[in-house]
């Protein structure tokens, strides 16, 4: 074959394949299998299939799960969270702590399913009794829904772990003294983040909790300002910046991604697209 002909054929093939691939992507975009996770085998079987590499397989499933759950457009995305993080990754590598807390945070913060999140954290703690951060997180999530008795029980469990940092006991006392205070909760996670004894998992949890709490505090403050403004003037402010002019706020905060909070003038409601554990919220 002549060189020029070979080059032309190779380039044509590559270009054709590129167009074909783009066409397949375009045509198949709306055909996302609804229950693809249903066919993900239990970790016990994957472990046998891994032929001595269950740790690496757990990592691969975990990385895949992060990408999967970062897509907020999926319909029933919360249906198999416990299965993926607890039964698949947890069985492949029972000592891998990150999937337990990440799965629990997706369930609790995003799906508002506290019981499922606590089950995942309990399973993780049962397999990793040295990981104080798991009952600590469980205690915090109970505290957040004002179930103080359960929160105290989890905090006691965390404090009972050998080698748990003293901040666990300190935070338990502070939280119980000022039950329901978001700023106290924010401070609690800032302490975890700054503590040199915290491992990478504890710091990753703290970063996500701080992000979520900051949004909640900002929204609560702005909402209170709007309500005071409405009570004084008989109408809602036309925009949030009016609160600064009225002396009800020093400045208007932005969310952790640097974007302004949403404000609906008619209802006077302040909101945020945040409350997502994986990746930034859509613009």
């Amino acid at each position: 074959m002549r060189p020029l002909l070979a080059i032309v054929l190779a380039v044509s093939g590559a270009v054709g394949a590129g167009f074909g691939r783009a066409g397949l992507d375009r045509l198949g975009a709306g055909q996302r299998p609804a229950q693809e996770l249903l066919y993900l085998p239990n970790g016990k079987y994957l472990r046998a299939m891994s032929l001595g590499h269950p740790g690496l397989m757990a990592d691969l499933v975990y990385l895949w799960a992060i990408q999967y759950y970062s897509d907020y457009e999926r319909g029933d995305r919360y249906r198999y969270v416990e299965h993926v993080f607890g039964s698949v990754i947890g069985e492949l590598d029972p000592h891998y702590v990150d999937p337990y807390w990440l799965g629990a945070m997706i369930l609790v913060v995003e799906n508002h399913d506290l019981e499922a999140g606590l089950r995942l954290l309990d399973k993780g703690f049962e397999r990793n009794p040295q990981s104080w951060i798991l009952p600590y997180l469980a205690g915090f999530e109970c505290y957040r829904v004002r179930d103080y008795a359960r929160a105290a029980a989890y905090m006691d469990k965390a404090a009972g772990v050998e080698g748990a940092p003293p901040l666990v006991l300190r935070m338990r006392a502070a939280l119980m003294a000022r039950a329901g205070d978001l700023r106290e909760a924010l401070e609690m996670w800032r302490v975890v983040l700054a503590d040199p004894e915290s491992d990478s998992g504890a710091r990753a949890i703290a970063e996500r909790q701080i992000r979520d709490l900051k949004v909640r505090i900002d929204i609560a403050d702005l909402q209170a300002g709007v309500e005071r403004f409405s009570a004084a003037r008989g109408h809602h402010p036309s925009r949030l910046e009016d609160l600064v002019g009225a002396g009800l706020a020093v400045s208007i905060p932005v969310d952790p991604d640097g974007r302004p909070y949403r404000y609906e003038r008619l209802s006077g409601r302040v909101s945020s697209p945040a409350g997502r554990i994986l990746g930034p919220a859509p613009r």
Binding site: A48, H53, L56, Q67, H95, A204
Partner: protein, 264 residues
Amino acid sequence: MSTERHGPGAAGALAAIAVNTFREAIRDRILYLLLVFSLLLIVASRLLSFMTVGDEEKIVKDLGLSAIAIFGVLTAVFVGVSLVFKEIEKRTLYTLLASPVRRWHFVAGKYLGLMGVLAINLVLMSAALFLLLLVRGGSPWGLAPALVLTLVQLALVTSFAILFSSFTNPILSAVGTLAVYVVGHLSWSFDLLKARLPAGAPRWICDIVHYLLPSLDRLDVKMQAVHGLTLPSGYVLVGIGYGVCYSLAVLVLACLVFERRDFT
């Protein structure tokens, strides 16, 4: 197997064949694997910082240890199964056996030479992994027991590769060796099978088969090493002892088979 010739003569013949096998493997550019391994590790560790949530070091360790084991097994299988066959095909074996070299010298020398290559590969790949972890601010030292037992696994797999290659062609040898590797990593399933069998002879047979096959799964402590879990006292030493004794038995079998093979 002949027992007439021992001492410096046997040792000299073994060393000459082992060194020659080692040089041959190096000439076959086997060390290019190291380049692939290093690039894989560096690229993967960069990607992980974008993709994962939580502990990146754990994934780098898992990836490094698994890549070392997989590259090692592939080298053992695909180099090991052709070592004897190549010498027969190129007819260099006849020249060799015409000299005062016993057949078992040849088999054992080939084994030792390949183990030398595998050991050097493993040490260099481990050094690359340790360096990467140190640069990232991690602590790689707890991985040492897993790496030692990985080498023991490679010694076992190599002995089977040599055994198969002593009586069959490279394709069948590769299939057989890979089958031993798979079965060795599934040997825990004999415990499940035994629990379902009736007491008496069926369970004894199950036990015998279980003990005859190599327990590669028991030599796999990667997960414990990555998570910093303590191994039972003396576990690594017993593992080394098991691997050395088992490999020796398989190698003796390979020598016996090779001695009885007719090359005329």
